[in-house]
Symmetry: C2
Subunit: 391 residues, 2 copies
């Protein structure tokens, strides 16, 4: 179920080398407040640079997205192409150019095929509809399935919906694990509050999930709120805000989950909870160090309850940890305590570590802060996809 | 060729589950100055903790090393075991306990088999000899070959030798890529100067080489200088120091090279030179980010000249870089300049990228500093070794 007042369309424009949807459009009938989170990479693709500029506007109406070409490392001409496509959408639906966001994912270093984008405009407009399925497919690259999620809450007596879709874990050529997420809601939220909510939600979800640790040139999450539910405005610090944030976070968490599970060659998910850290920053650093360790990821691939690698990755995280104070649990079973392994049977630990989703809990006993991280294993398939996709 | 006044021995003590040398001893006839570099991991193995304490002594005589057991995550009992084995060596060769260093590599979380270590002592002493070959084998774990290097320089008219050996890239159970390096020289060098020299040499070599980015609980590099060449003392800031540092760095560089090339499942080496960075720190961060990128490592595995991944990894290094100013070369060929790919033929770039050792040069044009990093690819074999070694 999608929020009131949003329409979607998708077209097969032959940007991808096979006959699949590759350009999609989201349009709101009403002007929206918008918030965005963009890649922290210093090398930013043209659509990211354009969106960061357009984000300064007050209202927004549409998102144009394409797969098959990232429009990255394309210089000034690439920026002009992104701008031109935004202008075309603005003309099509009758709004200002800076009310349109654009997003691209796919091969880098080649120009956006503008004749194909331009040629798709008429159909994108004609086919606008409340069904978002085509759009969710149009942003896919090496994703094996479309990813979407929704949540409904009641705000001021009005049913309010948050819906989002995402693509992840791999452009087909070259793969840079670009993540795009587009979230729309019919809640009434000011730009300022929306920005806070998106940051809160992404910090806990997308920014705590990793496949291979590489940060793409194109990573983008956009959130549009059009108020079409006619609920009362969501104000900061209210019960309404909590409800809205909870719905938004739920959608983001589901999308992050789907992204990692559909990561390239992923066979198993790991979830590390770091507890009783001295500070939130410490907790995140330890969790990220474990989630990013190649040795932990390969152990996860092999279903091997290799507690030593997890303790070791905590040790080199840069955070002050004391091995003698640590406790490490797989599921409910303690594998490491008092600086030494426990006598829990290897078989018991292995049973936890061969689940599809392995839950690990590292208690540092240094304070009261906590954080979690979702991550994937690294498999033969991952190496194959990334080493040989040109062959 | 090994330096004057050092002897080596090795014994098969059945700590490793196959019939190979697994305990080794290096003894200097004369008291040595010593320097050491130890893992920065907060979780340090017992032998590392003991060596850091013994390093406070003025003179040193011996290094006892074993493979097959890391004596890590073994608590207070493990520390006592390391201390006991150092005491046994001290008694054997007639020196103080704190003149003996110990090093262990292998399985973690299990106690050092003290009866086997103790049982080896007599033979270790009886078999001391100038031939170091047995010792270089005794420290191997998943290494496929022993690694050693030497250099000779003339200091004050006297022929002076630096010799070292190392093991790397993998304990057999579990693999934590522990690196051990032992370097001995007959130069006459004070403890203070030796410390500076070892830091200088390792910063440029061992600390600029990576297989999988994990930092072990046991990493150790030890350097002993016994002055047996009868050359004049090497003083800081002199031509002698430069000569000595050059010999030492040469030995460390050769060992680092051998370590990476013999890394688990390694099929190809990458060497990234970052030039014209704003600061040395920036240069190192950019080089490390590229050397550590899984996507760059898999591209290296596939022999794919994927310039986009290298530019991208520089972009997320945290260093301020400007894509339009960057130039990226594979061998002599420029792949990326002015923010876009050049028109150099894909085939030309691929020829560079399928060499056994791929040289990449990223010119940032932000200043005058530079740094380099040596790294390996990540292969199917790496995943297999690390995912399935228990099966």
């Amino acid at each position: 179920m999608t929020p009131k007042g949003f329409q979607f369309s998708a077209v097969k424009a032959s940007i991808k080398p096979w006959n699949k949807e590759d350009v999609g459009l989201i349009v709101s009938q009403l002007p929206c407040a918008a918030a965005g989170v963009f890649t922290t990479n210093r090398v930013k693709a043209a659509p990211v640079l354009l969106d960061m500029k357009h984000m300064k506007g007050k209202t927004h109406r549409a998102i144009l997205a394409n797969s098959g070409c990232a429009n990255a490392a394309t210089g000034k001409a690439g920026y002009q192409d992104s701008l031109t496509s935004a202008m075309q959408v603005a003309e099509l639906i009758g709004c200002k150019t800076d009310e349109v966001f654009v997003a691209s994912t796919g091969v880098i270093g080649v120009p956006l095929p503008m004749e194909k984008i331009t040629g798709a405009m008429g159909r994108l407009n004609a086919w606008l509809d409340v069904n978002p399925d085509g759009f969710t497919r149009a942003i896919m690259t090496t994703d094996t399935k479309p990813k979407s999620a929704s949540a409904t809450v009641t705000i001021g007596g009005k049913e309010t919906t948050v819906w989002g879709c995402a693509k992840g874990a791999g452009m087909f050529h070259p793969n840079m694990a670009t993540m795009l997420a587009f979230i729309v809601t019919d809640a009434s939220v000011s730009k300022t509050v929306l920005k806070t909510a998106l940051k809160d939600a992404t910090d806990r979800t997308f920014n705590r999930a990793t496949v291979d640790g590489d940060t793409s040139t194109n990573d983008t999450a956009l959130l549009l709120a059009n108020g079409a539910a006619n609920g009362r405005p969501v104000k900061a610090g209210t019960a309404d805000y909590k409800k809205f944030l909870s719905a938004l976070s739920g959608v983001c968490a589901s999308l992050a989950d789907q992204l990692v599970l559909d990561g390239e060659g992923v066979t198993r998910l790991g979830e590390i909870f770091v507890e009783r850290a001295a500070s939130a920053k410490d907790a995140v650093r330890v969790a990220r160090s474990i989630a990013g360790s190649l040795l932990v990821k390969t152990a996860l691939n092999g279903g091997d309850p290799n507690w030593g690698r997890i303790v070791c990755a905590a040790g080199y995280s840069g955070v002050r940890v004391v091995p003698e104070k640590m406790e490490l649990y797989f599921g409910e079973h303690c594998a490491f305590k008092n600086g030494t392994p426990t006598d829990v049977a290897e078989k018991t630990l292995a049973d936890e570590f061969t689940k599809k989703r392995v839950v690990m809990r590292l208690v540092l006993n240094m304070g009261k802060a906590e954080a979690s991280y979702l991550f994937s294993d690294i498999s033969h398939e991952y190496v194959s996809i990334n080493a040989h996709y040109r062959t």
